[in-house]
Symmetry: C2
Subunit: 114 residues, 2 copies
C-alpha cells in the first residue's frame, strides 16, 4: 500500500465501490486500477488485498468465478445483493467521516465548498 497508513478501514470500501462500477474484477486488476486512478500514489499490497477479498466473500458480500486466461487462473469477484447494499452503507459512512475530519482539521471548512 506504499507509505500510507491511512487506508486502514477504507480498503473494503474501495473494493466494494470498484466492483459496483465495474461489475466484475479480479484481484490483480483491482491493484492496477487503484494504482492507475491515483497515479501510483496508492499501491494496494497483495497481503492486504487477498485477505480482504476472502473476508468479504466469507461475509457474503462477494461471489467468485474462476476463469482460465492464457493458462493463467483468474478469480473474478462480483457483488452479491448484500454486497450492493453494503456499498451504499460504506460510502455514506466514509463520506460522513471525511466531512467530520474536515470539521475537525479545517476550522474554515463549510460543506459544499472546495
Amino acid at each position: 500500500m506504499s507509505n500510507n497508513n491511512l487506508i486502514k478501514g477504507s480498503l473494503q470500501t474501495i473494493i466494494l465501490k470498484l466492483l459496483e462500477e465495474n461489475d466484475r474484477m479480479y484481484g490483480y486488476e483491482i491493484t492496477q486500477k487503484v494504482k492507475e486512478l491515483t497515479e501510483g500514489e496508492i499501491k494496494i499490497t497483495e497481503g492486504a488485498l487477498y485477505p480482504a477479498l476472502h473476508k468479504l466473500e466469507a461475509e457474503g458480500m462477494l461471489t467468485t468465478e474462476i476463469e482460465q486466461v492464457d493458462n493463467r487462473v483468474r478469480k473474478y469477484y462480483s457483488l452479491t445483493k448484500d454486497g450492493q447494499k453494503e456499498v451504499s452503507a460504506k460510502m455514506s459512512e466514509l463520506q460522513s467521516f471525511v466531512g467530520n475530519l474536515q470539521r475537525i482539521l479545517d476550522p474554515e471548512w463549510k460543506p459544499g465548498l472546495a
Copy 2:
C-alpha cells in the same frame, strides 16, 4: 471512538492539529472538542487517546505540564518544535490521501470542486 472504524491512522493528525490551533490542551478536553466539532458523531475513546498522546510525547512531538485544578489533576500537552513540523507533514499526507480516495471512489470528482 464510537462506531467509526475509519479513524485508524488519523488520530495522531487530529491531536497534532488541535494542539496547533489551541496551543495547549489536556486529554479530556481533546475528546470534548472533537465531540463538539462533529456534533457527537466522532467520540475519541480514552483507550485510543491516551496511548496516542504518550506515544507522541515519547517521540518528542509533545511536552506536558501537570496542573492541579479543583483538586483534579490535568495534564496539558503542547507541541514541541518537532511537533510543529509534524503537523504540516501529517496534514499534507492526509490531504493527499483524501484526494486519492476521492479519485478512486468518485469518478466524477475533480480537484477544486465541491
